[in-house]
């Protein structure tokens, strides 16, 4: 089943005219015959629309910084922002030294009215002093919330002063919630400062193992990164750092020593990937560790990049073994899921990545979209030069890096690079649209109204989204799968993750609970009897 242009128009026509005009540009029906289908993305959500989007602070502190375990993350602001981003995202971490793992801690300056009136700089400085005194962390981050920028607190100056007082790096992030149009602005802000202050900050010049790589845009939700690393390490790769799942300040400092950067979530980390290439000459490879095919292809592409026969052979051996092991497990779940349809609306990469895994268990994605992506995540990176910068993107600093005189080294020759680019997505991402079937719907910043309307028409069997949608969808009698938190399950990445996902999705379909929605008396008359010639009996 698909949505026709007419049906789409009917949905949009229910909007007030300004909203209709705006939303029209964020939705299209995939048509491969059209050469380039343009979508509007990374622009403002109209006030009053029930959007799933969050803010720059959530993207910066919540997504990128939060998982870094050996740094204390201070939220400078009233209590809420720090509180909500505390332990809610399932970015797991373990540490050899549990006294240097601060993931279960939430530090906030808990600004009060007097701080808003007289400024919060002194309080921030005191909180930094306390944090250093109590926790002795390797480094500290300070993330700004909305009022901080408005009252003009200079958090960078406070951080610099505290850094010289304590001799501990203190990183300031001006990620006030109103910046940009979504979490995306915060990713960019976090990327800039991590690149400027952390990556390359060690004296190490060479990674200690073979095939050193960084994994970028992998946040170890539900242990995803651990499952991927299990396989990578067996094949023979040395994981220098993960950005930022189970990541650390200590590892991140060495990220410049990698020979290749893998990019899992393109949206949240492509800035660092690009800057690493410019500064150190290390290319990045777009990977997709979700699904058996995605995982296998990514592993093969990595092996091809390094071009070592033994590595290629080992890669094939591991893939063959893993696939043989899990395919029988997948088979039972396929029987349950086959022929079903899904909506897949997630943040900035999973809306794309999970389509492959859905397909592997027989589920077709009929609608997909991203909450906070940019046009390149839909259309491919070739459109980047054509993306217009608007007022909202202008206020995110665009960091300029240049080649590091001492450390820049082309990891592959320009000729080899061109040759590889023909075969593998090296320093390139083709986006979501190209992989979707004709007739499927692509929606940017899907909102509540559209969710209801598209469900009415397409009646999907499962809806993959987040917690704000989940119970809305389930009230309709449709299983909803959280793909931000995995409904507290996981890992979903890699080979074992595919099995976990298939199991959980099947559980959603097979649960007997759905059968109880309609009470047995609802289709039964209250009184039964027969009408005879004598009357009613």
């Amino acid at each position: 089943m698909a949505v026709t242009e007419k049906e789409l128009q009917e949905i949009l026509d229910q909007y007030p005219s300004k909203v209709q005009k705006n939303r029209t540009k964020h939705i299209f029906i995939k048509d491969g015959a059209e050469s380039a289908q343009v979508i509007e993305a990374n622009t403002r959500t109209i006030p009053g629309i029930i959007t799933n989007r969050g803010c720059a602070y959530a993207g910066c502190k919540g997504v990128v910084l939060g998982p870094l375990k050996d740094m204390v993350h201070i939220t400078h602001g009233p209590i809420g922002c720090g509180y909500y981003s505390w332990g809610t995202r399932r970015n797991k971490a373990k540490s050899d030294d549990p006294t240097q793992n601060f993931l279960n801690y939430c530090v906030s300056t808990d600004m009060q009215e007097s701080d808003i009136v007289f400024g919060g700089e002194k309080k921030l400085a005191k909180v930094i002093d306390e944090v250093i005194d109590i926790f002795h962390p390797k480094a500290v981050t300070v993330s700004a919330t909305c009022p901080v920028g408005l009252i003009g607190d200079d958090i960078s100056a406070v951080a610099r002063a505290a850094e010289s007082r304590h001799g501990v790096p203190i990183l300031a992030f001006s990620c006030e919630g109103y910046k940009g149009v979504s979490q995306s602005a915060g990713h960019h802000i976090a990327n800039n400062i991590l690149m400027e202050r952390v990556i390359g900050a060690s004296e190490t010049e060479k990674a200690s193992g073979k095939y050193p790589i960084n994994i970028l845009g992998e946040y170890n939700i539900g242990g995803d990164s651990w499952e991927v690393e299990r396989v990578l390490e067996e094949i023979g790769y040395t994981v220098v750092s993960v950005m930022t799942g189970d990541g650390s300040y200590e590892e991140l400092k060495n990220a410049h020593t990698a020979e290749l950067n893998l990019v899992q979530c393109h949206r949240s980390i492509n800035y660092i990937a690009e800057m690493l290439e410019t500064k150190y000459g290390t290319p990045w490879l777009k990977v997709n560790f979700i699904g058996i095919a995605g995982m296998s292809e990514s592993l093969r592409n990595m092996a091809l990049y390094f071009g070592d026969e033994a590595l290629i052979a080992k890669t094939e051996e591991v893939i063959a073994r893993e696939v043989a092991r899990i395919e029988p497990l997948m088979e039972q779940y396929k029987k349950i899921c086959d022929g079903k349809t899904a909506f897949c609306f997630v943040g900035g990469s999973r809306g794309h990545h999970y389509q492959g895994l859905f397909a592997e268990i027989g589920i077709e994605t009929v609608l997909a979209g991203y909450e906070f992506a940019h046009r390149d995540d839909y259309e491919g990176r070739q459109v980047i030069p054509t993306i217009k910068t608007d007022a909202d993107s202008k206020n995110i600093p665009q960091m300029q890096v240049s080649a590091d005189e001492r450390r820049f080294r082309l990891k592959v020759s320009p000729e080899k690079m061109e040759e590889l680019k023909q075969k593998i997505p090296l320093s390139y991402y083709a986006g979501m649209t190209v992989t979707m079937k004709d007739g499927s719907i692509i929606v940017d910043d899907l909102n509540h109204f559209e969710t209801e309307e598209f469900i009415k028409i397409l009646k999907p069997d499962i809806f993959a989204s987040g917690i704000k949608d989940k119970y809305v969808i389930q009230k309709m009698g449709i299983p909803a799968k959280q793909l931000h938190s995995y409904d507290y399950s996981g890992p979903y990445a890699g080979f074992n993750g595919a099995v976990n996902f298939a199991r959980d999705v099947s559980m959603g379909f097979a649960s007997p609970t759905w059968n109880f929605i309609v009470p047995p008396w609802q289709d039964e008359p209250l009184l039964t009897g027969t009408v005879t010639e004598e009357g009613v009996a």
């Binding site: 029930i50 989007r53 969050g54 006294t99 909305c146 007022a391 509540h448 987040g466 009698g477």
Partner: protein, 462 residues
């Protein structure tokens, strides 16, 4: 677990919080607004606020928490959010069509000083629709204050005294409790034979049934007509000083409805107080149905007192809930030796007196000495426990880390409970709620005793 928390207590004077025991006002305002029938809460601020609050409420209730946002950008922050709010009001009524839109502010819009009443006044609102608002600066008080402020907003916008003589009905402001608690309080008042208006009332909204159909505005919630009519009631019972006394006082001023401020009816004493207040005001005898429940509760308490007596407890959470829980554990002969709320005690502009004084008075009459703190955080609470261990922790989900670190059983009560389900449907208030709490406490203590018992001490009957 929490290996970075030192045992040594050092005074922290920065005013910052480590592992907070409160969150910000707008969350409470959003929750309260969902207790109006047909209402869409609206967050006037950045998108992240609305998103965080909806997520948090959905995680606690496992229900949709619908709300819209003004989607601030830097431009709006500089030039004011009037245009955003006007657009939002227009779109909300055109697209989602609620009966009421309840706007609350955020730290952003409070800092820039958006004048919400003027913006609302200068916006065209569709015929028959209502927009109310509450100022909920995140840098004052806590989520409990936000609940109180939005409830005040309901009074100031909606309540009307239209009759010369007050009606024989009671207003109940239930405080920041679960829908299951609100249902139980309404049941008790009904059994007393007294007509009541409860607002806000999230029952039927955040515990709405599964029907196979989603409705954005479920059947529950206090209707606008009810809230209007609250001005004609004979009495307001404000349950929980921190969440409910301000709106009750405002209703007294505005509509001359006398207010009685009671504790959240957790435990036998506070439930008794509720019934006594109703009995006196309405000259209605307490029916056998409730006396029977009370008698059952006392029966349980006496029969099992040896499970509890002398056991040391640490309690944290929202002030009204913690006050009720403290009274309940004292009535069981337990010793609450660490008591903490994250909400500042007696916030500015609030009639609520000092949390610490009230708790200390209860402890004094029971002969228990304890650490008591308002405006505290869980880092402090944990350090107290390290220095003076307890047999049991009662608090919200955030206590699970401390419970694990110190190997102490935890009974989850209050807001939020994110890692267990069904809690929001079942009451902790009234005599039945007390039974449920006693069951939870005794299960936690006895499961622990079973776990720790040597084989030869492992008992069949306890």
């Amino acid at each position: 677990m929490l290996d970075c928390t030192p045992k040594e207590l050092k005074e922290r004077n920065s005013g910052g919080a480590i592992n907070p025991a409160k969150t910000c006002q707008p969350l409470g305002a959003m929750y309260a607004a969902l207790g109006i029938h047909g209402c869409l809460p609206h967050s006037h601020g950045s998108q992240g606020c609305c998103s965080y609050h909806r997520m948090h409420l959905s995680r606690h209730f496992r229900e949709p928490a619908m709300a819209s946002t003004s989607s601030f950008t830097e431009g709006a922050s500089v030039f004011g959010g009037g245009a955003n709010l006007k657009t939002a009001i227009k779109n909300v009524f055109a697209i989602y069509n609620p009966e009421v839109m309840a706007v609350h502010t955020t730290c952003l819009t409070e800092t820039i000083g958006d004048d919400i009443p003027s913006i609302i006044k200068s916006t065209e609102i569709p015929e028959g629709k209502i927009v109310i608002h509450a100022n909920t600066p995140s840098y004052l008080g806590s989520h409990v204050t936000g609940f109180s402020n939005m409830t005040k907003g309901m009074v100031s916008y909606l309540a009307e005294a239209t009759l010369p003589i007050k009606k024989e009905q009671v207003n109940i402001i239930p405080g920041f409790v679960n829908p299951g608690d609100m249902r139980e309080i309404k049941r008790i008042v009904k059994v007393m034979g007294i007509k009541s208006i409860m607002f806000p009332d999230t029952s039927g909204v955040l515990d709405a049934p599964m029907t196979g159909k989603f409705t954005m505005f479920p059947q529950g919630g206090a209707t606008v007509a009810q809230i209007k009519d609250s001005g004609n009631s004979k009495l307001t019972l404000a349950l929980g000083r921190f969440a409910s006394s301000d709106p009750a006082e405002l209703l007294a001023q505005k509509c001359q409805v006398p207010a009685t401020i009671l504790k959240t009816p957790i435990g036998i004493k506070a439930t008794d107080a509720l019934l006594v207040a109703l009995r006196r005001a309405f000259a209605q005898e307490v029916p056998y149905e409730l006396e029977e429940e009370r008698g059952q509760l006392v029966d349980i308490m006496t029969d099992t007192h040896f499970h509890f007596h002398g056991k040391q407890v640490g309690i944290f959470g929202d002030p009204d809930i913690v006050t009720g829980l403290t009274e309940l554990v004292l009535s069981l002969g337990m010793k609450p030796i660490h008591i903490l709320t994250g909400t500042p005690g007696g916030a500015k502009g609030s009639v609520a007196g000092s949390f610490e004084d009230e708790i200390q008075a209860m402890l004094k009459s029971a002969g228990v000495s304890a650490n008591v703190k308002a405006g505290g955080d869980l880092f402090t609470f944990h350090q107290w426990l390290k220095n003076e261990p307890v047999d049991l922790i009662i608090g919200n989900t955030y206590g699970k880390y401390i419970a694990r670190a110190e190997d102490i059983p935890l009974v989850r009560v209050g807001f939020p409970v994110l890692d267990r389900s069904v809690h929001s449907y079942l009451p902790i208030v009234g005599y039945r709620g007390a039974m449920r709490l006693i069951e939870s406490i005794s299960n936690a203590l006895l499961d622990r005793a079973d776990r720790d018992a040597a084989d030869e001490d492992f008992e069949l009957v306890m």
